[in-house]
């Protein structure tokens, strides 16, 4: 299916950009006329993925995070958040609720659990040393749904 619209975004992995990233994606998705709840869900999921890229992918060093997003005629939103950071050795383990590699940073280990509960589909591909891509898919019921 051909997307109605697409966008690309890249920005330095500064934590101040977490707010920018989720707000930019929300503004892009707004074309589908989502409900406030749907928009909040998408912002939250994007925030989790971007925070993961900053904290885990790049381990707080400043490099580039890439986001692409597309909206489709069937009200589907697909958002891809990519980093070229350290990658994940064991994706299954990383996705386990409460598993975290940085408890001292007070990370709850719930990033993927939150993404999964707020999206229809969460796909993670990663190569150690090469980076990680998280693809979030969510179909909006919208105001008519």
């Amino acid at each position: 299916m051909k997307p109605l619209n697409e966008m690309k975004l890249s920005f330095p992995s500064k934590s101040a950009n977490e707010a920018f990233a989720r707000t930019a994606v929300a503004a892009f998705v707004a074309a589908l006329d989502p409900t406030v709840d749907e928009l909040t869900d998408i912002k939250t999921a994007v925030s989790e993925a971007v925070t993961n890229a900053i904290v885990h992918g790049y381990r707080e060093s400043i490099q580039t995070i890439y986001i692409t997003a597309a909206i489709y005629p069937d009200n589907r939103v697909v958002i891809r958040i990519r980093d070229k950071g350290c990658g994940i050795e064991d994706i299954q383990k990383a996705m386990e609720p409460l598993y975290t590699t940085s408890p001292e940073g007070e990370r709850a280990g719930l990033g993927f659990a939150v993404m999964q509960s707020l999206c229809d589909k969460v796909k993670v591909t990663s190569r150690p040393g090469k980076g990680t891509t998280v693809t979030l898919t969510r179909t909006l019921a919208g105001r008519n749904g």
């Binding site: 989720r22 939250t44 925030s47 925070t51 900053i54 990370r107 709850a108």
Partner: protein
Amino acid sequence: MSVRIYLAEDILTAYLSGELDHHVVRTIREEIDEAAERAHPAVLVLDFRDVTFMDSSGIGLVMGRYALMQELGGELKIENLPNHIKKVMRLAGLERLANMETGGVRK
């Protein structure tokens, strides 16, 4: 994002406002911990009424303050949760940790 902290009797209340994410949680938690360690309150209240956005960083904030209050021999309360935040907290099962004002069970 900002936090205003008030001490009344032995209740320390932190009014959080704005967007609660990984970026802002770092400074906020320092401010709250400093006040709590100084005051040794019986109850620490985190008031979420003016929080407009929260991701799992907020869960980390609550879990960390819960641990701190355990250490200080006090109690943690979470108050005035907007619906979108309740959703994220429920996911983490936080109502089992802290006394959530709405629908929460006292520990």
